[in-house]
């Protein structure tokens, strides 16, 4: 028997709608859960004072600094490398076996578990290059970890710039580089920023790769060669070692709020840039 289109239409709306609702519900549940447990602990004092007794008392100031520095360093290293690779692959090479191999390689890199990156970072940066457990080792390791994401999203963004824009630019006597700088990068910017934000998101919450490379020192770092502890690692240690459940949730709440505000800031910036240009 054929189901009347009116019914299938209704069914589609129902199923798609509930899928959307469920997704939002899960997100809301996680955020509410973490905030409910963490907000009572959270205060400006908690955020901006040093921890005492391994985090049992006091605040989380050094981990706040570590959480800001590591992703920042990672993104600062990975963005030029990733965007450069993406532009080179799409604009300067023709589709060939070599570009496909490079692309396959970056895809594989994206699938490697973060703890493997941590191990690699530990062996290469921490011991072989004698950088020790440090912000530099951690930042470099995270940079490699988020590189594939940035390459892939930037590549899609660059490819999405209409071919006609390139033709116009060339026809007006622009070189390939001038075309990249004046037409392609500005138009691919929203996509590139999305990739960078995904990278920030991944590295801000990373624990495995960070413990191995940046260590877990609770002291305030004074140079890039100092060890540091991120909020994610702090939460892990506080909870795992049973040091303080309250402070663990306080840290988790701070982390969630940090991630949300970074995303909101990025969206806001993006909208401003887009509004200015159209």
């Amino acid at each position: 028997m054929r189901i009347p289109p009116r019914i299938t239409q209704l069914g589609a709306i129902l199923i798609l709608g509930s899928a959307t609702l469920l997704t939002l519900a899960v997100l809301a549940f996680i955020i509410v859960f973490v905030l409910e447990k963490g907000l009572p602990v959270l205060s400006l004092r908690f955020l901006f004072t040093n921890p005492q007794d391994m985090g049992r008392a006091g605040g989380i100031f050094p981990t706040l600094v570590g959480t800001a520095l590591l992703p920042l360093l990672a993104v600062a290293i990975a963005t030029p490398l990733g965007v450069g690779t993406a532009v080179f692959l799409t604009e300067y090479t023709r589709e060939s076996r070599v570009t496909n191999i490079i692309r396959f390689g970056t895809d594989c890199l994206a699938g490697i578990p973060s703890i493997i990156f941590g191990l690699f970072g530990f062996i290469f940066f921490v011991t072989t290059l004698r950088m020790g457990w440090s912000i530099a080792s951690g930042g470099l390791t995270l940079a490699f970890m988020i590189l594939p994401t940035i390459i892939r999203t930037s590549e899609e963004a660059v490819k999405a710039v209409p071919k006609s824009f390139r033709e116009v630019s060339f026809s007006l006597g622009a070189t390939r580089w001038q075309t990249v700088r004046k037409v392609i990068l500005p138009n691919a910017l929203p996509g590139i920023v999305t990739g960078v934000m995904l990278g920030v998101g991944r590295s801000i919450g990373e624990t495995a790769a960070v413990i191995f490379t940046a260590g877990s020192s609770l002291r305030m770092p004074t140079s890039l060669l100092d060890s540091t502890r991120t909020m994610a690692v702090h939460f892990y240690i506080l909870a795992r070692e049973g040091i303080s459940t309250e402070n663990a949730y306080g840290t988790a709440a701070a982390l969630v709020i940090a991630v949300l505000s970074v995303n909101l800031l990025a969206y806001w910036l993006m909208h401003r840039v887009m509004a200015k240009r159209s």
């Binding site: 824009f165 004046k182 500005p186 138009n187």
Partner: protein
């Protein structure tokens, strides 16, 4: 008088398939050459061969030569970027770059590092020559994407004029435009031929008859015949030309 462009046995292939076969044609300076022919006849390929845009496509290959002021633009040492500044192009679909009207017009001149006051000057003269100045002079800094299709195409013409080229290639510039915008572009072209050599590809035979001095008829990758527009339209020497302009095919 020497021709501005002298095309000698020019063939263009994409992935070994010929799209243009051994075209010989001399284009005199300060005239409008109209190129007519059905779709797929190689008109656009021919046009894009004159500023070497075909080579942006993978698998393209060119034989023969095209002399601009006596120099072969396909010589390995020829400066392509310089060529595209001398031979400007307007595409079939108006493509305004997502930037302001002003920035669109000065896109080319700015690449060659012109001074600010010189750019201002170029914007005004180019937009005036393209019959767009009066409509946009108060909003040069607003986005070009807000212009109508007809305005965008005149912006594209102005953008090409701002290069101060010697030759202007137009690829069906009026195909998507209303009659009034078309008339404005035609009027602009008629005035512009005083200073430029213009090659106009058009699907509209009447347009070629109205504004071109010479006309060339292309069919299936070959140039069938070329000559003064009046003669082509009144007494073509090839039967295929006659069939096309009288509307028997194409």
């Amino acid at each position: 008088m020497n021709p501005k462009i002298d095309i000698q046995g020019l063939s263009v292939y994409f992935n070994r398939v010929p799209y243009l076969r051994s075209v010989h044609l001399a284009v005199p300076a300060n005239r409008i050459l109209g190129i007519i022919g059905p779709s797929g006849s190689g008109k656009t390929t021919f046009l894009r061969a004159l500023n070497r845009m075909n080579e942006l496509e993978p698998g393209s290959h060119v034989e023969g030569s095209a002399l601009l002021d006596g120099q072969d633009i396909y010589h390995p040492q020829y400066d392509v970027v310089g060529l595209r500044k001398k031979v400007g192009m307007v595409f079939a679909l108006p493509v305004a770059l997502p930037m302001s009207i002003y920035d669109n017009v000065v896109y080319g001149p700015r690449l060659s590092g012109n001074q600010r006051h010189r750019l201002d000057e170029l914007v005004e003269t180019s937009l005036k020559a393209a019959f767009l100045w009066d409509e946009v002079k108060d909003r040069l800094k607003t986005s070009a994407l807000r212009l109508s299709g007809g305005q965008q195409q005149r912006l594209c013409l102005a953008r090409t004029l701002a290069l101060e080229p010697e030759v202007i290639l137009l690829d069906e510039p009026c195909s998507g435009l209303d009659p009034i915008s078309t008339a404005k572009i035609e009027e602009a072209l008629t005035l512009l031929k005083e200073r430029y050599t213009i090659i106009l590809v058009t699907n509209n035979t009447k347009q070629a008859a109205r504004i071109s001095n010479e006309t060339a008829f292309f069919l299936m990758g070959e140039m069938v015949e070329a000559g003064p527009t009046e003669r082509i339209f009144t007494g073509p020497s090839d039967k295929r030309t006659n069939d096309y302009i009288t509307g028997r095919f194409g």
